[in-house]
């Protein structure tokens, strides 16, 4: 098939607005009679809280202060609905939202935030996922801190390790990192008749619409989400941050309400990449064929589940790397702690596991005295391969070509003398 448009470096259609400064991000929106919102956030990682807004309310220019009492249905979350829109009794992480001040100017809103009295009754927190997995660990939510366990069992790993010519083990750790998109979260919401319009930068406008409608207990069609230009996302704009606060503020005040997070607040407000601890054991036979792999992966999802279940599932499925291994045992766990919550970030669980499996590959190759390219070529997926989950890779599996292309471009000469 001859293609005419596909395959061409067509100039990006949103480019012109962006190079002229005309692209509108939510912070660039202004409306007549617009007022400002600001979020009060928890300074403690695990505590029972009481807040007193009586003083703050009296500051001239303060229009309204929203607390959990104002939220019709105080829950949201992409999978488990374990976030509160505004915390009612307990905070589970630093940065948890407690109140949303609406005032005529940003400065006044800030002053009101400082005037809200928060009483924290601290509870012992848990910050290490291994500690959190223990029976007697402080509970972040009501049930167990372990919210997900993915199991993959193929063949008999222990028997296979016995027969391996070379076995390597390692424990790998990745840190909690941030999307660090350049545009801090901002938004503007207003009433349009009996509908509420929320302008934000989001990865998934229809999901935001649903979350807002559910929290406000309003019909879906009465909520309209306008997705402005989005200043980078990388998974960090999957979960709700300010959307419901703004919608509620617009609904209750009748005014257009705008809010902009500072960089520091942005770091506190959105999800993070799951830090993982990954224990790996991998073995190969004397011909350099991978025979067995065992992995145990612990992912710290912080105070809220967000996408944890899907992330640790993806980590589990991708833990083998793109290689055929006849015997595999994988366990991956998602665990609550009182750390900032982790969720989606570019790679989504498949970004962490290569830190383990690819170093294991090189360690094994060295032990077998095979060069890393040859070792990968011996074991890599190809058309017809079966993954550890038993999935048949029946087409478009050009991994071998990729490996060879890189080796050639790097002028890598294979040291194959070790390979039998």
């Amino acid at each position: 098939m001859k293609l005419e448009v596909v395959g061409k470096s067509v100039i990006r259609v949103d480019g012109l607005a962006k190079i002229t400064g005309k692209a509108i991000y939510p912070q660039d929106l202004f409306m007549d009679d617009m007022v400002f919102g600001k979020t009060l956030r928890s300074k403690k990682p695990h505590a029972h809280v009481k807040i007193d807004i009586s003083k703050a309310k009296t500051i001239p220019g303060v229009i309204k202060i929203l607390t959990y009492k104002d939220v019709p249905n105080n829950h949201h979350g992409v999978l488990l609905k374990d976030h509160e829109v505004l915390c009612s009794k307990k905070v589970r992480a630093i940065g948890d939202p407690l109140a949303f001040v609406i005032a005529v100017t940003e400065k006044i809103a800030k002053r009101a935030i400082e005037a809200i009295e928060v009483t924290y009754e601290e509870i012992k927190g848990v910050f290490d996922p291994f500690e959190a997995m223990k029976e007697d660990a402080p509970k972040v939510h009501d049930g167990s801190n372990i919210i997900y366990h993915y199991k993959l069992r193929k063949g008999d790993v222990e028997a296979a390790f016995e027969k391996c010519h070379a076995v390597v083990e390692g424990e790998y750790k990745t840190s909690m990192v941030d999307h660090a998109f350049l545009q801090p979260e901002a938004g503007l919401a207003y009433k349009d008749g009996d509908s509420i319009v929320v302008c934000v930068a989001t990865q998934y406008p229809h999901f935001d619409q649903l979350e807002i409608a559910e929290a406000l207990i309003m019909p879906l069609e009465k909520i309209k989400v306008i997705n402005t230009a989005v200043g980078g996302a990388f998974g960090g704009r999957e979960d709700i941050t300010m959307q419901i606060h703004l919608a509620l503020a617009a609904m209750l005040t009748g005014k257009p309400v705008k809010t902009i997070y500072s960089r520091e607040e942005s770091f506190e407000a959105h999800s993070k990449r799951h830090p993982m601890t990954m224990y790996y054991k991998t073995g190969a036979n004397s011909e350099g064929k991978l025979m067995a792999m065992k992995a145990k992966i612990i992912g710290d999802t912080g105070a809220y589940a967000s996408w944890a279940i899907n992330v640790l599932r993806k980590a589990g499925v991708h833990a083998t790397g793109p290689y055929e291994i006849p015997n595999v045992k994988i366990d991956s766990y998602a665990v609550y702690t009182n750390n900032p919550f982790a969720g989606a970030m570019r790679g989504f669980g498949a970004a962490q596991v290569p830190i383990g499996h690819e170093q294991q590959m090189d360690m094994l190759a060295e032990k077998l005295a095979i060069d890393p390219i040859t070792f990968r070529l011996i074991n890599c997926f190809t058309v017809g391969s079966k993954t550890a989950t038993g999935q048949v890779l029946e087409e478009s599996i050009p991994l071998q070509n990729c490996i060879e292309a890189v080796a050639e471009a790097m002028n890598f000469s294979k040291k194959t003398e070790g390979a039998v």
Partner: protein
Amino acid sequence: MKVIQLKVNGGVYKVDIEEDMRLLDVLRDKLRLTGTKEGCGEGECGACTVIMDGVSVNACMVMAFQAEGKEIITIEGIQRKDELHPIQRAFLEEGAVQCGFCTPGMILSAKALLDRNPSPSRKEIREGISGNLCRCTGYNQIITSVEKASQYLRREEEEK
């Protein structure tokens, strides 16, 4: 409150400011020149880069009253009449833009660089835009764009 006079993109504006306002606040909130972005508020990301009296500065690191009487160029002011500035054109053609939030600041840093060094090497371009963080592009297509813009500008000079 205080009234200051600002020269922005060739126009002269009288603006009421509060003493604690930054140049960035005046540009965005008072003049509604929202092409200048705020990414960090502490001079670290360069999204608010503007050209002031010929040099690039972070508009979040200049108090509004300090800018009185200075010539300021923002992204809204670099276009020629009906036509894109060669840097803008090159950014568009070479894929230098992704989310776009760093783009205005990046273009102004590129302009400040090319104004004083019309034929920078790729290394010099890297240095010239090192105060502008971009999380999307990995910079390489931006660098190619600045190289291309430099060619456009030199060709323009020759044609003159």
